[in-house]
Every structure is written in C-alpha cells, then in structure tokens.
C-alpha cells in the first residue's frame, strides 16, 4: 500500500483519484501509461481501463496520458536530476527509493559524441509503474516443502508478473529471520537493481546481506567468496554469464534460490542458458507459479531429473 501511495506522487493529479478508487476495490500490480493511449492498471484479474471517475469498460472513455505528462513523470522519477540516472534510462527502467519499478519505452537516439544510444527525453511513449509487494505467506508452499524435505536449491519460474520477486523476498525474509525450523540462516541477496529490497522499503529482515548495483555474475562470485552465505538468493536469471557463475559456485554447499521467466518447465529447458544450469544440477527443485484470476496463485513444486 505504501508503494502505491508513492506511485501517486509520480502520477499527474488528474489520474490519482480514479486510480485510488480502483485500488480500493482490487490489488493493483501495475499502472500503465501510454502516450495518447488508454491509461490502465493491471490487477490480479487482468487489465482495467481507467477513466475520469474510475474503472471504465470502453477504450474511448479511458484517460490518455499526454507527452508532457510522461516527460514530467520521468523527470520526477529521476528526482529532477536526469544526469544522475542516464544509465538507468539507457537500460529502460528506474527504481525509486520506495521500490517502485518504472519500465520505460520510447524513442532512442544515437549520440555521435559518445557513440552510444540513449533515450530521447522527449520521446517516451510508455511508462509501466510496477508496485512491489511483501505478501506474508508468499513462500508458504516452498517453506512447507522444505519442512517436509530439507532446504535445497530451487529455481522459481513463472511468466512475468506472477510473483517470483515477491516469493523470493518472502523467502529471504523468513529464512534470514529464523522462520524455517527456528534457525536463522545467513542469506546473501543479489539484488542488481534494488528490486527485492528497495532502499526505503522498510521490509524487516534478519541475517541478510545485500549486494546491489553489480552485475549478477560478479555479485555471485563476490558473495560466495566474501560473505560465506548459507543461502544465496538471486532474481531473474537468464544470461549465460549469470548461469555460469552459478554453476561454478553450485558445489560450494550453498543453497541457491533463484528465479527465471518461463511459462512452464518445458519452456525452462528451451532457454539454452537455463538448460545448461539445470543439466548441471545446480537446482534440486523447480517451483512454478501460476496466477489464476479465479484460483489465485498456485505453486507447483517438483524435483529436477
């Protein structure tokens, strides 16, 4: 809820009230603004169009974000200091101190001086504000599995927006606080973009070490060497260098908990970097999340191999 309040700070005045009205009726995961196109929010039941007074059914009745409004939002997300956030803008996302994740899309420009591409600050066509959540009990299914088996490395997969980051956050919190078998573990979290534990999130944790800002591969290597963690948590694997760093650290006795984008178990094996990781038996367990509008979130836990 705090994060949603923070989101209102970045939004234009005219969009705040209708979104607030909708948020009273459902949990908002994302707020999506597109230039001259309908404003919408993503809830657990799908996409909802936002009109002047709240939810509307027709595209024509929805509010449309203007170019200057998008520019203003980006400016606020950058703390009126775009020069500080050039790298993040180049990567296409900004993370606020409160943990909001803003995905940006628009026109890129080629800078002759630096010989690199950079976003046109007047050419943003869309902003996706993702609201981070701490759901107590998001990791219940996996913790339950561990209670009946043993703590082991797990790869969590789901399509985007199904709750992988929320699950990892809850796992990090509970394992580091001693919620599992009443023993607190030394947990190292590789949080490259401060998505898991944002600066001012106020998420309370126990024996948790956080490495942020570094590329995952380098951070994994450092965490293993320097922090001596019992559990290492890493969000969104997918690149070869990340998976290779994990493979090389996988025989060190550390429990790895990581996540990856995939619709199904079969889809995991279709991604060559992840296939390599799974074939190397870096994970013992796969946990698939499915977000269903009627059933809610369901977790499918199965052993690898």
């Amino acid at each position: 809820m705090q994060a949603l309040e923070e989101a209102f700070f970045y939004l234009p005045e005219r969009m705040r009230l209708p979104i607030r009205r909708v948020s009273a009726r459902l949990k908002i995961c994302e707020i999506r603004l597109r230039r001259d196109l309908p404003l919408s929010v993503t809830g657990e039941n799908g996409n909802i169009l936002i009109g002047e007074c709240g939810a509307v059914g027709r595209v024509n009745d929805a509010l449309k974000a203007r170019a200057d409004e998008l520019e203003e939002i980006v400016d606020r997300l950058c703390e009126q200091s775009v020069y500080r956030h050039a790298d993040a803008l180049w990567r296409g996302y900004l993370i606020t101190p409160g943990g909001l994740r803003a995905g940006l899309c628009g026109q890129m420009l080629y800078d002759e001086q630096t010989r690199d591409w950079k976003p046109d600050l007047k050419g943003f066509t869309g902003i996706n504000l993702r609201i981070p959540r701490l759901i107590d009990g998001a990791a219940d299914a996996l913790i339950g599995y561990y209670e009946s088996h043993a703590l082991c490395s797990a790869l969590i997969y789901s399509p985007p927006g199904a709750g992988k980051t929320t699950l990892l956050r809850d796992l990090a919190r509970r394992l580091s606080c001693g919620a599992y078998r009443k023993k607190p573990f030394r947990v190292a979290v590789i949080d490259e973009r401060r998505e898991l534990f944002p600066e001012q999130s106020g998420f309370s944790c126990g024996l948790l070490d956080l490495i942020s800002g570094l590329p995952k591969a380098l951070a994994i290597e450092r965490a293993v060497r320097l922090l001596n963690p019992q559990v290492l948590i890493c969000d969104e694997l997918g690149l070869y260098e990340d998976t290779r760093a994990l493979i090389s650290a996988s025989n060190s006795g550390i429990v790895f908990l990581a996540s990856a984008h995939a619709e199904s178990r079969a889809a995991l094996f279709q991604q060559s970097a992840l296939k390599e990781l799974l074939c190397a038996q870096a994970f013992q367990v796969l946990c698939g999340i499915r977000a269903d509008p009627v059933l809610g979130r369901t977790y499918r836990i199965e052993e690898v191999g």
Binding site: D75, R76, C78, E79, Q80, S81, V82, Y83, R84, A86, Q113, T114, K118, L121
Partner: protein, 166 residues
C-alpha cells in the same frame, strides 16, 4: 520646521540619486554572483552527480546572501522538489533587478536544470555562465556611467531645490 523641510528637499534627490547609483553599480556584481552559482552547480553535477535538491547546500556568496536570493533558493529547495532555482528567481525577480536579457537566459537555464543528460547539463551551464560573465563585463562600464549620472543628477536636483527655496 522650514529649515527641516529645506534640508529634506535638498537632500532627498541627492540621496535618491546616490541610492540609484549604488543599485546600478551592484548589477554586474549580481550577474557575476549568478555566474558563480552556475559554476558551483556545474562542479557539483560533474564531480558528485549531486541531486538537484542538494545542489545549493554548499554554496555561499555574499552578494546573493545580501539580496535574499540564497535564502529564497534554499527555502524553495526544501519546500518543493522541482525547479527550486526557477521558483526562487521568479519570487525574487523584482528584488534582483536584472536586465531583461540576463533574466531571460537565467530563467531558461533554471527552468530546464536537471532535465538533460550530463553532457547537455554541463554544456548549458557553461554557456549560461559565459553569457553572464560577458554580460557583467559589458554592463560594468555602462553601470559606472549610469551611476555617475544618477549621482550627478541627484546632486543637481538637490542643489537647484536649495537655491529655489532659499
């Protein structure tokens, strides 16, 4: 009472002329102070990549302190997150008494501060700073002449009034 009135009539124009002359002579100093402020902003951005709300924390300047601009700037910076420099300029426009061209350039810089990439920010800061310094040099001579004129005119009016009423 008559003597008091005579003194008032004699000295008031001279005092007015002297005050105008003082204000004229201060103009280049104010421009140079703004150039110094922009230089500090450029330094903060290029060296520490300081966020806009903290850009002015370490800046001190007697001229801008004296005319109340720095106090307005710091208060705007604390109260609102965006365009503090622009707001302070707008609020102090009358007091600053800048010429129209200098104010336009300065306001344009303040309005767009923080809205560009590092290289653009530094370039704009450098350009504005150079403009203000050159402008200060240009009006220095002019300001001296005008200050002299106001002082002389004030004295003449005072003297004429004295002769007229004596």
């Amino acid at each position: 009472m008559r003597v008091f009135g005579l003194i008032l009539i004699t000295f008031a124009p001279a005092l007015f002329g002297w005050m105008r002359a003082y204000r004229e002579s201060k103009r280049p100093e104010v421009l140079l102070a703004f150039a110094r402020l922009i230089e500090q902003i450029r330094f903060e951005i290029s060296t520490f990549s300081t966020r806009q709300s903290a850009l002015y924390d370490h800046f001190e300047n007697p001229v801008l302190e004296q005319n109340g601009f720095l106090a307005a700037l710091r208060s705007a910076s604390r109260e609102q997150s965006d365009a503090a420099l622009y707001s302070a300029l707008e609020a102090q426009k009358e007091k600053l008494d800048l010429d129209a061209e200098s104010y336009r350039v300065l306001a344009e810089y303040a309005r767009t501060l923080g809205r560009g990439y590092l290289s653009d920010e530094l370039e704009r800061a450098k350009k504005t700073e150079t403009f203000l310094s050159k402008r200060a040099d240009l009006i220095k001579e002019d300001a001296h002449k005008r200050a002299r004129l106001y002082r002389s005119a004030g004295f003449l009016f005072g003297a004429s009034a004295f002769l007229l009423f004596c």
